[in-house]
Subunit: 317 residues, 2 copies
């Protein structure tokens, strides 16, 4: 038998939820050769297609059953669904098994993990969020390339009562990541393996606290989504359907409406699980719009436009 010191192995992996995210993860782990066996969980039809595509080796329609022998479990459903599933699989997990997820918000999931796993939550669960495209959904769009080059945020749990991470290597408590960072103290061996496997499928792994993640993403992801949807609603109110005026634009409109095509079911759960941060971001944006409106055509307007242009340059593609 060959033993590679470079290639991490997740051994037996469960992927619960075979949509775009879960299907792509299974395909990517398979291609990178970092899983020995992948168990899928989802509707029978999806399990059949997942096996045909070579994404999974076996499958179960029952989440608890699908994790019974696995070393790593990825919950790949919308946030609230994943929280419910975590509670259901918890009693059936092997003692050393590590649970992760791909949900778009992390605080609610982290809170649930602490409730379910108590003091051992920090070592049993390592929540994650791959920042990969979401306008398409479903297993039919899954691709082993989805995560290549993407940023994958891992949000180690902070023991709620202590506000600190356990640094197991030192047998003491480490600091939780303040903001986004390339390293995190106190990861267990399984968590380090998880990280290495994600890097093996091409992801760029960074760390943040669940709360820091949700606050930042409210601005960089959830706010743009709200804007795009609100723009579509505004146009509908102004023009109704089939009005040729809607087609008179230079292309910028189309790019601003792209996100509005995202999955409403997923966004309902994101909005519910990050309500406070999103409301804060929206209020700030509403204030900026009001200020622009009140300054239309003035020197102040020009100044704000110039400021916006400068700042927009900071955002990397």
């Amino acid at each position: 038998m060959n033993v590679s010191v470079d290639r991490p192995s997740l051994k037996r992996v469960s992927v619960i939820g075979l949509g775009l995210m879960g299907g792509s993860l299974a395909l990517a782990l398979r291609r990178a050769g970092v899983a020995e066996h992948i168990v899928g969980c989802g509707r029978a039809e999806l399990l059949r297609r997942g096996q045909e595509m070579g994404a999974i080796d076996s499958g179960s329609v029952d989440a608890a059953e699908s994790v019974a022998e696995s070393d790593f479990v990825f919950l790949c459903t919308p946030v609230e669904t994943s929280i419910g599933l975590m509670a259901r699989i918890a009693p059936r997990l092997r003692p050393g098994a590590l649970v992760s997820d791909v949900g778009s918000t992390k605080s609610a999931f982290a809170k649930a993990a602490r409730e379910i796993f108590g003091a051992s939550a920090y070592e049993r669960v390592l929540p994650g969020h791959p920042l990969a495209g979401r306008e398409l959904s479903g297993l039919e769009h899954a691709s082993a390339d989805l995560y290549a080059g993407c940023t994958w945020v891992l949000t180690p749990l902070v023991a709620e009562t202590q506000g600190q991470l356990l640094d197991s290597s030192k047998g003491s408590l480490g600091e939780p990541p303040a903001g986004f960072t390339g390293e995190a103290a106190g990861l267990t061996a399984a968590q380090r393996t998880l990280r290495a496997a994600l890097e093996a499928i091409g992801a760029h792994v960074i760390f943040a606290s669940p709360e820091g993640h949700d606050h930042a993403l409210a601005y960089t992801s959830h706010l743009p989504q709200m804007l795009s949807s609100a723009l579509a609603l505004t146009l509908e109110e102004a023009f109704g359907a089939d009005n040729p005026a809607l087609q008179v634009h230079a292309g910028g409109l189309k790019s601003m409406l792209r996100l509005a095509g995202s999955d409403p079911a997923m966004w309902e759960q994101i909005a519910a699980s990050n309500r406070g941060n999103i409301a804060e971001a929206l209020e700030r944006l509403e204030a900026e719009l009001r200020k622009l409106r009140e300054s239309l055509g003035s020197a102040e307007f020009r100044k704000r436009f110039e400021q916006a242009r400068e700042y927009a340059k900071f955002v990397k593609g």
Copy 2:
């Protein structure tokens, strides 16, 4: 001499303002072979570069002088600048010369044309707006392809006192276009030639009233621009500069910020010349954002997201 019945000729053309729009127009007219001589107007440095690029045949730094012998004049500067230039060139125009422009708003320009040319405004001026990309500016980005495939809106003037178009072919008053349409009544021979020349450079010509144009574009062009700039300002307020949190996004943010890179000088003039319509559109959008914010995570939120997704599909690329 060959006389082609198919190819329109603008004969002698003045292009005032040699930036992205004017430079591209000159290059496109030249390539399509629909102009015999192109006179450029702009700073000496731009005239030199325009001649080197083959965009113009001759040039003048003086706008009035540049139009003295021309049959067609295109004002290719921001809206308010074009209005000032129209007043300056008016006394020097040849009797049959037709003035057009490429400004982003049309009502203020149309109003100025009526003031300057009085009863003959409708036949002396045919305002226009090509919907071509604007994130880049300057002659260095000019291209003969800029207008290929673009929509070019022409907004025939309506005699202010009559609210109607003169249909010169019938010697009677025609109806102004209600909304956007592929045809317009009452165009003069020169105006039909202008239309044909624009089609020869690849533009898809449609017609609207100046007021109808400005109301629609407030929603399809100016509103998306305001949103993009307001998003940049909100992010700056939340994160400041150099915060790595700003880079944690899935790409949607970048597409929502693309328009924020547009030219503030141009947008100051657009905002000033279409203030009422833009304010109306912004107020409606602010109301939609408020409703989304107040419904975060509820069934109403989901319903609105689904409605937005359906409507966004109507917008063609």
